[in-house]
């Protein structure tokens, strides 16, 4: 009898392993090495132990940036996930031209490079020449994203929602289209309400795509850099300085490679923990495995 599997198939994994090793594992190892040394240049490194970690862990500005970052990511998830589901549920289900049009329109923001998105919103939000900023001012609201931290936050958040809700919507739409019509027919026979159909058919069937959507949006928003950098430059003050911007300032601006490496590792561990908790929660909730 033949073996049920062929271990030689593992050789097919080698190219991916080599790629990941060069793009992720080796750089990560280097970051670990840097984090325990004071780096002055190639071959000029001095052992400092855990000094950089202690410095980073006691840095008040870093704590503030971390709180801002967590708040931002939670706000992004709280808005984009329900909104994306709502958009997907509102999209036409047939294969006509309307569906194609909606799909193209939804895909448009995803095709725009991040720095261009920042520039678009920088101009759009300006009260003197921007359509959005001038319209808000015309309503009698004193809106100024360059001077008011609340307005800056709101603009960065709305920009992210504009840029990325489409991704969630497209993923959810794919999940919805994969549900066999028999489920809807059974629900109709049972006289299920629209809410019951959503709660007991559509939402459980979207679990897979929602896991991807939540993880992608969490990780991406937690690492956001370009858009707020172009839009507000981290200001006013430090109001929109998120972790990656703080890190870049440290690594590239001040050339504090050791401190930046320690910071990067802590950053990495935070992303890893949050992603694992999200993933575990979403994959076990509703399956009867969760206590």
């Amino acid at each position: 009898m033949d073996k049920p599997w062929n271990n030689r198939a593992w050789f097919l994994v080698i190219p991916v392993f080599v790629l990941v090793a060069f793009s992720a594992i080796i750089p990560l190892m280097t970051v670990v090495n840097y984090s325990v040394q004071d780096i002055f240049g190639p071959g000029q490194a001095f052992w400092v132990g855990t000094e950089w970690f202690e410095k980073v862990l006691h840095d008040e500005r870093l704590h503030d940036a971390l709180v801002r970052q967590i708040l931002f990511s939670l706000a992004v998830l709280a808005i984009e996930i329900p909104l994306g589901i709502l958009v997907a549920l509102s999209m036409p289900a047939d294969k006509g031209w309307r569906t194609s049009l909606v799909l193209v329109l939804l895909a448009l923001p995803l095709l725009i490079p991040w720095n261009v998105v920042g520039t678009i919103w920088q101009i759009f939000g300006r009260a003197d020449i921007g359509l959005g900023g001038a319209a808000i001012r015309a309503l009698g609201i004193d809106y100024n994203y360059t001077g008011n931290p609340r307005d800056a936050w709101l603009t960065v958040l709305v920009m992210d929602v504009w840029h990325w809700t489409s991704l969630v919507a497209l993923l959810c739409y794919a999940g919805l289209r994969a549900i066999p019509p028999a489920y809807y027919q059974a629900a109709k026979i049972d006289g299920a309400s629209r809410w019951a159909v959503f709660r007991h058919i559509e939402l459980p069937k979207m679990r897979g795509v929602l896991i991807i959507a939540v993880l992608l949006r969490f990780m991406d928003s937690f690492m956001i850099y370009t858009e707020p950098f172009v839009l507000t430059g981290g200001g006013p003050g430090n109001a929109t300085t998120f972790l990656s911007q703080y890190l870049t300032r440290m690594a590239v601006g001040q050339f504090d490679l050791g401190v930046a490496a320690a910071f990067s590792l802590i950053y990495f561990l935070i992303v890893l923990l949050f992603s694992y908790v999200f993933y575990t929660f979403i994959t076990t909730v509703g399956t009867g495995d969760r206590s």
């Binding site: 280097t30 040394q37 970690f53 561990l269 694992y276 495995d289 969760r290």
Partner: protein, 90 residues
Amino acid sequence: MEWMAWTWPTALFFVTIALMLAGMTAWQVVSPSVERRGLLPMPTTRGDRLFIGLLGSAYIHLGWLALADATLWWALALSLVWMAAVMRYG
């Protein structure tokens, strides 16, 4: 390799991680892991528990550096206890 700025402690750290992964692979081949439910709020395999143990250990070390003044060896001892507990009862 000079650009990677290797030091003995970090090399030892990565060798330990690599040995752990190799050991887990060998263990898996000899006796395949069965998903089970322990004290953790979700069913876990042996690999899951190793990951949770390592991630927890990293946080124990960071917490120690942030909150305590005593030597980091205590954090290592605490991490070993944590790792053993997760692997056995998690």
